[in-house]
């Protein structure tokens, strides 16, 4: 594959051929302009082929059979784990497959819930698990940026255990408020769960700052990396967080697979979540013991084909080059910020420069509801997301009921940003606003 042009930049028009859906026309025969990769990405044929080859040649229940197909399927599944691990600078035994990032984050919240329930009922937990027991007065900290997937599980955990939820606020400019960070994190803080990159504002959070604050009080650090892993080189060894979650479908992979990363020793100190086949060590009629991580967290027949597809997605991203992708997205983002920012009555939410900022550009337009803006764009074949993007409290904080969001990926082109800006101007005209 040669996916770059002479000056080392992405050869977008070539790589677009790998994505059959991008050749589609949509409403009114318009070519598809897909600016909704923040919700889910499109898939290259390489990923679809890898999945299909698994099904047509090697399909069997992994970790459950001794025949040749079962061996091959298990090998394919575990090799995928290694590939995905390497993609984020981890080792294979630190990678747990889940159905999406949401399950991965819930897994962590439930580890606390389970350890606490076992403690309350005197039926455990083991000494290792003590770290996950929440006692009266214990606190959990999140930020105002959070996607519902990294907020509601903690709200619910608090309801189930009596722990207290604390919220680190953001500044007017859409950055993490350091003063609030300092004020919220305290000796009672047991977990700090936050997003690496806001799926609404694009803001990249200062991970080291949060990690330092959490470390100082011995709190566990959980990072929602859904919007970072697909778009920039993420290396878990450098980040310094304890646990990290992301989804396959946002990074060219199939639907139905997500990842939880954690150091193996930490994962092994967590009580199991879903229980059943393949995650056990011994099962007796009335009690069981459990396998080591990652198997401990992978109950039942897993999404093997999807793991193979996600590994193919990692290979694809590597072959294109993560740095190139990041640069390319930055260019598009800068262009979008400039073009959209120049439209009267349009307000970009969050940072308006590309400093520590990814390629999600959410905005509101005076006098026109985001959904109506999105509808007019859709009519021109431009797919954006409208609504609160699963970050409702953040929108309230920004005094916006909802917003229109464009988000970029490796296959987007500058012409698509122009089309977006044209569409927004046309919408303003259509509704006779401003």
């Amino acid at each position: 594959m040669s996916l770059t042009v002479a000056d080392g930049r992405l050869d977008v028009s070539s790589l677009r051929h790998d994505f059959p859906i991008l050749g589609r026309t949509v409403r009114n025969g318009n070519p598809l302009v897909y600016l909704d990769s923040g919700a889910t990405s499109q898939k290259p044929v390489q990923v679809l082929d890898a999945e299909r080859e698994f099904y047509e040649k090697h399909n069997a229940a992994v970790h459950r059979g001794a025949h040749l197909l079962a061996e091959e399927a298990t090998d394919a599944y575990e090799a995928s784990r290694s590939t995905i691990a390497a993609f984020i600078g981890a080792s294979a035994d630190e990678i747990v497959f889940t159905k999406n990032a949401t399950e991965a984050l819930n897994l962590v919240a439930f580890a606390f819930g389970t350890a606490t329930a076992l403690w309350e009922h005197g039926s455990g937990p083991g000494p290792d698990e003590d770290r996950f027991v929440l006692r009266p007065g214990d606190e959990i900290a999140v930020t105002e940026f959070e996607h519902h997937a990294n907020l509601v599980p903690w709200q619910e955990l608090c309801r189930r255990t009596g722990a207290v939820l604390r919220v680190i606020t953001i500044t007017e400019g859409g950055r993490l408020d350091s003063a609030s960070l300092a004020a919220v994190i305290c000796e009672r803080t047991r977990v700090v769960a936050f997003t690496h990159q806001s799926n609404v504002l694009g803001t990249v959070l200062p991970v080291d700052q949060v990690v330092a604050a959490a470390r100082a009080v011995g709190a566990l650090v959980v990072l929602d990396a859904c919007q970072s892993v697909p778009h920039q080189k993420v290396n878990v060894a450098e980040l310094g967080v304890d646990l990290l979650a992301f989804s396959g479908h946002k990074m060219l992979g199939p639907t139905g697979i997500g990842v939880l990363w954690g150091r193996n020793s930490l994962l092994n100190s967590m009580p199991p979540f879903l229980t059943g086949g393949s995650m056990i060590e011994t099962v007796w009629q009335y009690e069981s013991t459990f396998a080591m991580a990652p198997q401990r967290f992978e109950a039942g027949v897993p999404m093997a084909a999807q793991a193979v597809g996600l590994a193919a997605a990692c290979d694809y991203l590597e072959s294109v080059g993560l740095d190139r992708i990041t640069n390319h997205e930055q260019e598009l983002t800068a262009l979008a910020l400039a073009e959209l920012g120049a439209i009267p009555g349009l307000r970009v939410l969050g940072p308006t420069d590309t400093d520590a900022r990814g390629g999600a550009v959410a905005f509101t337009v005076d006098g026109i509801h985001p959904h109506d803006v999105g509808q007019l764009l859709d009519d021109r074949g431009i797919a954006v997301r409208v609504g609160h993007h699963c970050a409702w409290p953040l929108h309230r904080r920004l005094d916006a009921v909802a917003s229109t969001r464009a988000s970029f990926y490796l296959y987007n082109e500058a012409s698509e940003v122009h089309a977006l800006a044209d569409g927004v101007r046309a919408a303003i005209k259509y509704f006779g606003a401003s």
Partner: protein
């Protein structure tokens, strides 16, 4: 543009100049409904006379053109009607909205609400059109439940 079938002239008119907007007294029940996918909300009051005539529907809230116009047309269509007739309009409106563009709208029953026929072809907007109507249904149910409660 295909989208013109959605944004009928009449819908845009009602959106820009909504009828009956604002919360008024008296009312039998007030409800608050939310559209979870977009976050839009409506507060809606219904005043139902003892002989089951819809005397007033008053509302406030935020939302897209479709939801705002829909509330305005709801007001137009049901105020002054008997509850029974208003429920007939609601039923016809629900059928139209869930019809995916396959249901022939009955102008006699629906009146101006037939302008929403095009919405049915945009599944993501059906919830917008229904927000106020379902709030109205809920409010009427509550009034009747309360009456039955105090009767029984």
């Amino acid at each position: 543009m295909e989208v013109d079938s959605l944004y009928q002239e009449l819908i845009l008119d009602h959106y820009k100049r909504p009828h009956g907007r604002g919360l008024r007294e008296p009312f039998g029940a007030e409800v608050h409904h939310v559209n979870p996918t977009c976050g839009d909300e409506i507060t809606l009051r219904v005043d139902l006379s003892d002989d089951d005539v819809v005397r007033d529907v008053s509302y406030d809230g935020q939302g897209c053109s479709i939801s705002q116009a829909s509330a305005s047309i709801l007001y137009e269509q049901v105020v002054g009607q008997s509850r029974k007739d208003a429920e007939g309009i609601l039923a016809a409106f629900l059928e139209l909205m869930h019809g995916r563009g396959q249901v022939e709208p009955n102008e006699e029953i629906l009146g101006d609400a037939i302008a929403f026929a095009g919405v049915a072809k945009y599944p993501a907007r059906v919830k917008c059109a229904l927000l106020s109507w379902l709030a109205w249904e809920d409010a009427v149910l509550r009034i009747r439940a309360e009456r039955n409660g105090s009767n029984g």
